[in-house]
Amino acid sequence: ADKFKIGYLRVMDDAQAIAAYEGGFYKKHGLDVELVEFKSGTDLIKAIVGGQLDTGVLGFTNAASWSSKGADLKVVGGAQHGFHAIVVRDDSGIKNVADLKGHTLASQKEGSTADTVLKGVVLKEAGLKPEDLSIMGVSPQVAVQSLVGKRVDAAFLFEPQARIAQLVAPVTQIYEVGEVWPFPCMVVIASGDTVKNRKEEVWKSLDAQREAIELLTNKPEEGAKLIASYFIAEPTLKTLKHGDVPREDIIRDAIKSQTFSPKLTEQELDRMQEIADIMQAQGSLKTRDGKPFDVSQIIDLEWQEARKL
């Protein structure tokens, strides 16, 4: 049979997809999986839309954008909640989000989920407009390096970069969006065709990922061993204050700071609608008829209902 192709991004948010592969959970559920790495959700979603991939674990906003254009996409399961931290350089004197005014902040690519939430939620609640500070859209690695190189005062980062940044540079975390405004950042997305034609395999993959999530939540030590090499190349990381730290320790802590969940709850569905509305307000989501985008049309909860989560 054809390999089941799952796309992923090299971020902590996709840990369950990686762990399920490295831990052999897909195989256990009778699925022959090929894991394909992507540099961005934008490319990953295109591969799903173009029929090159079966499922992928990526930001929900991608599914919203593309289905608003007419692509047949389904969100078939949850994955991880959006934990994005703002870390600031110690010498910048920034104490809270409102202090960011007039400073430079390294964020992620314009139009990405993180960028949407940053502008639509984080800054808004602190009473700032995007124009009040200079926001640089770069990759997370460049963001960390820019902090170290004193090119930016603050960065909006997910794991494990937020943790790595704090270990290698004199920076402090001042804000965590997951604590203030939890939202389902990463979800499992499949094309409508796949959901129809390869339903069984999709479900198997979700089962495998669910098992991986359990492992990550309950035994972060073991989970870290499976996935650490995906994020830190050298066995140890040279830190500012604690000398050489084994990479597994860092990843373990990063895993612990995340909330993984295979289930999409009612509140989460509401949050998704909220994000879609923000996107529409920002102009990065346009429906063809101009009406508000209805998130429920791309949600397919058959699997989690069948598993009675």
């Binding site: 961005s40 934008t42 979603i45 295109k46 839309v49 173009g50 991608n62 954008s65 593309w66 608003s68 254009k69 007419g70 692509a71 430079t104 964020s107 690519k109 314009e110 139009g111 990405s112 200079s134 926001i135 640089m136 859209g137 770069v138 990759s139 690695q141 460049v142 390096q145 820019s146 170290v148 190189g149 090119r151 930016v152 990065s284 989501l285 346009k286």
Partner: protein, 257 residues
Amino acid sequence: MSTQIRLTGYKKKLAMVVAVAAILLFWQIAAWSLPDFLMPGVPSVMVRLWEDIQSADFRAALSGSLVRLGFGYGSALAFGVGFGLIGGVLFFFREVLKSAIIILQSIPSIAWVPLFLIMMGFGNMPIIVVIALSAFFPAALSVMNATESVLNVHVSAARVMGASRWDMLKRVYLPAVMPELITGAQLAFGNAWRALISAEMLIGFGQGLGRSLAYAGETADMMGVMANILTIAILATLIDQVILENLKRRVLRYQYV
């Protein structure tokens, strides 16, 4: 005499039209065979492009990109000609520079971007440096190769007529290498342009065509992606064919009369 048959201006224009038509046709075929939201058709993108052009955002992106291009490309040419001419006189320096260029040229500009970002900070600087770097190589190489083939009689004749060193550079070497310099400048422009767009796509800073392209891709706006690609292609062709070709005809007027 060579077999060179110069096509008339009219035929050249016709050829350009045929080429454009062929490209648009391929695109439209791709659009027909793929779903609309992955690959929009030519007419709808044209409409979108027309709308875009009238927006202030577009003009800001355009001028942002062109300013960066101007600085990066301009300094690449200045350094390229300077180093190239020095290399024309100092043989060992030429070989060293050539070797360095061969080595450095193999590294793609998107590998430079993160490094320059960290070393130079955010702003126009890293983009301009990436542009300048990628345009410098062909400019310097072409001038250096051209100096190798400056005719001995031209040099001897000037010496006998009492030319100073500076006269020599300005009135013999520079005009002698001009044809190759212009070819090199056109090559360099291609490199500069691609580097500009790539760097803007990777660095989310300021207004620019590359950034518009990346943003359109990020927001699933394939119409915007194609409109931006179209803009990029049209602009590059215009700059190359109108500005650089005209410059060439002016500077190398003697070859065309």
